[in-house]
C-alpha cells in the first residue's frame, strides 16, 4: 500500500515490482446527500473541494464532472502562471494564486512541475513603453515582482527574438515578471483530485447536471444523470458553460462564451527559456519541458461552444509567432485545439453567491483561469464554508455590474480577454 510519493517509495516499489501503488483518487458512487456539492471537476472545482476539506474541515463533499476531470479548460490552456495585472484587487487575487502555486507540489505531494522561468511582455512603441512603465509601477506598488526591461535587456533575455530596428515590431523593452512561468496543467487537476480524495471528497466523473432542485427560492440540490443529490450549499466552477447552467438555475450572467485556441509544435531542443508575449503580434509562446513550442493568441471573435478554433485566428497567431521568431519557420505543428472560455465585460472573474441563494459561482475567468486555480479554489471554498465573501473575492461579486464598480483589466493591463 504505497500512497505517499517520495524517492523512498519509488525505491521501495521499484524493488517490489511496482505492485503497491494505490489509485490516485477513488472511484466512489454518488451519495444522495452532502454538505457541499461542487459542479465541475476542473482545476477550480477540485481545488475548491481540497480547500473545503483542508482549510475548513468540510469533507462530506462531492465534485461532479460531466466528462472526465481536467478534460475541459484545465487540460486545454497554455500552462502559464503569472500575476502581472494592474488593479490592486486583481494583483491580490492572482498573486495569492501564484504564492499558492509556489508551494503546491509540496502541499499536494504531487509534482505540478512549476517552472518559474519568468515572462516577458514586449513593448514595441514608445507609447507601449510608457504603458509598460505604468503597469510595472502598479505591480510594484501592489506588492508583486515586476521590472521594466529596456531593448538591451530584451536582446539578452531573448536572443532569438526578431526585434531589432529593422523588424516590423521592434522590441523597445518590456515588462519582466520573474516569478511567472509554467506548470503542468494536468498535474494541477490530478494533484488536487488526489489530495481531495484522500481527505474524503467524492469525485464523480461522467455525471452531468440536468437541473437544479429549487425549494423555497433556494438551491437545495441537483438532478444529475446519476440521480438526485442534495446539499446545503452548491458551488459551480464550469468555465465556458457558466451561462448554460445559469439558464437552468433561472438567471442570466454577464458572460459570452468564446473559443480560445492554442497549438504546439513538434519537440525541439531548448531554445526559448521564458514565456514571451507580444502585444504587437497578439501571440505568446513558451517551450514545454518536452521541447514543444506552446503557442497561443487571442480569442476567436465569434461566440462559440464548439471546442475547436477557426482558421483565421490560427493564421494570425502563427504569423505573429514567425514575425517574432523567424527561426520557428522550420517547425512543424503537432496539435491545435480550443477551449470555451467565459468572457466578462471587465475581464475579471465572477466570484460570489449567485442570484439563486445557496448556489455559489466561480467563473468568468476569460482566458486566464488556469493561473487562478489555487486562489479560485480557496475563495470558492471560503464562500461555501462560511456563506460570506473572503476579502479578496468581495470585489469580484456579481453586484459590481449593478454598482458600476468594474475591475477593467482589459484597460488596466491590456489583457486580451
Amino acid at each position: 500500500m504505497t500512497r505517499h510519493y517520495s524517492a523512498l517509495s519509488l525505491l521501495k516499489e521499484g524493488l517490489t515490482g511496482q505492485k503497491g501503488w494505490q489509485p490516485a483518487w477513488d472511484d466512489r458512487p454518488l451519495k444522495p446527500r452532502y454538505d457541499v456539492v461542487i459542479i465541475g471537476g476542473g482545476g477550480q472545482g477540485l481545488a475548491t473541494a481540497y480547500y473545503l476539506a483542508k482549510t475548513h474541515g468540510i469533507t462530506n463533499v462531492a465534485v461532479i464532472e460531466k466528462g472526465w476531470i481536467g478534460g475541459g479548460n484545465t487540460g486545454r490552456n497554455t500552462t502559464v502562471v503569472r500575476s502581472n495585472y494592474f488593479f490592486p484587487e486583481s494583483v491580490r487575487l492572482y498573486d495569492l494564486s501564484l504564492k499558492l502555486y509556489e508551494k503546491l507540489s509540496i502541499e499536494l505531494n504531487y509534482n505540478i512541475m512549476l517552472s518559474q522561468r519568468g515572462m516577458v511582455s514586449l513593448a514595441h512603441t514608445p507609447a507601449e513603453m510608457e504603458m509598460s512603465a505604468r503597469i510595472v509601477n502598479a505591480m510594484q506598488i501592489n506588492g508583486t515582482d515586476a521590472e521594466l526591461m529596456d531593448a538591451e535587456a530584451v536582446r539578452k533575455r531573448l536572443p532569438i527574438h526578431h526585434g531589432g530596428p529593422d523588424a516590423r515590431y521592434p522590441a523597445l523593452g518590456g515588462i519582466w515578471q520573474g516569478r511567472a512561468g509554467t506548470a503542468r496543467h494536468d498535474a494541477v487537476a490530478w494533484g488536487y483530485a488526489r489530495a481531495a480524495s484522500r481527505l474524503g471528497v467524492d469525485i464523480i466523473q461522467q455525471c452531468e447536471v440536468e437541473d437544479f432542485i429549487i425549494e423555497g427560492g433556494r438551491c437545495r440540490g441537483l438532478r444529475t444523470s446519476r440521480g438526485e443529490v442534495r446539499a446545503e450549499r452548491i458551488g459551480m466552477a464550469v468555465a465556458g458553460h457558466t451561462s448554460v447552467l445559469a439558464a437552468k438555475a433561472g438567471f442570466r450572467l454577464p458572460v459570452t462564451s468564446y473559443a480560445l485556441q492554442a497549438c504546439v509544435s513538434e519537440p525541439v531542443k531548448p531554445i526559448l527559456d521564458t514565456v514571451v508575449l507580444s502585444p504587437g503580434t497578439g501571440t505568446y509562446a513558451s517551450q514545454s519541458d518536452k521541447g514543444e513550442i506552446v503557442i497561443g493568441g487571442a480569442l476567436d471573435r465569434v461566440p462559440s461552444y464548439g471546442q475547436r478554433g477557426n482558421l483565421p485566428v490560427l493564421e494570425t497567431v502563427i504569423g505573429g509567432l514567425l514575425e517574432m521568431f523567424p527561426a520557428f519557420r522550420q517547425l512543424k505543428l503537432m496539435r491545435q485545439w480550443a477551449g470555451i472560455v467565459d468572457v466578462v465585460p471587465d475581464s475579471s472573474p465572477l466570484l460570489g453567491e449567485s442570484p439563486l441563494p445557496g448556489l455559489f459561482l466561480n467563473g468568468g475567468w476569460g482566458t486566464g483561469g488556469f493561473k487562478a486555480i489555487p486562489a479560485g479554489g480557496t475563495l470558492l471554498a471560503h464562500l461555501l464554508a462560511t456563506g460570506q465573501h473572503h476579502d479578496i473575492s468581495r470585489p469580484f461579486d456579481l453586484d459590481r455590474f449593478t454598482t458600476g464598480r468594474l475591475i477593467d483589466e482589459a484597460a488596466g493591463s491590456g489583457i486580451a480577454h
Partner: protein, 87 residues
C-alpha cells in the same frame, strides 16, 4: 475560413464580419427613471445560448448591420437578413 452571408453583399469570409451582440436586447426607455438593475441587465446580462442564437452582426466592408441566426455549437450559420425584415 467560414463563410457568412451578408444580406446586401452575399457570401463573404468571416473575417469581414464583426459580432454586435444578441438580437432583441433593446435599450430600456425612460432615461433617468430606469433602475440600476435594469440598466445593468441591458448593458451586461446575456442569454449566451448553447445552440441556436439570433445575433446582430456588422459586415465591416459595407458597414451594414443585420440579423444572423447561427448555431453556437455546430457553428452553422443561416444567411443574414436585414434588420426589421423579420421582426
Amino acid at each position: 475560413m467560414q463563410i457568412f452571408s451578408c444580406p446586401f453583399c452575399g457570401p463573404r469570409p468571416e473575417t469581414e464580419f464583426h459580432f454586435g451582440g444578441e438580437a432583441g436586447n433593446d435599450r430600456p426607455g425612460g432615461g433617468a427613471s430606469v433602475s440600476a438593475a435594469d440598466w445593468a441587465a441591458y448593458l451586461h446580462l446575456r442569454d449566451n445560448p448553447k445552440g441556436t442564437a439570433r445575433e446582430i452582426w456588422m459586415h465591416t466592408t459595407c458597414l451594414e448591420v443585420f440579423v444572423m441566426e447561427r448555431d453556437t455549437l455546430t457553428m452553422r450559420a443561416q444567411p443574414g437578413h436585414a434588420l426589421g425584415s423579420h421582426g
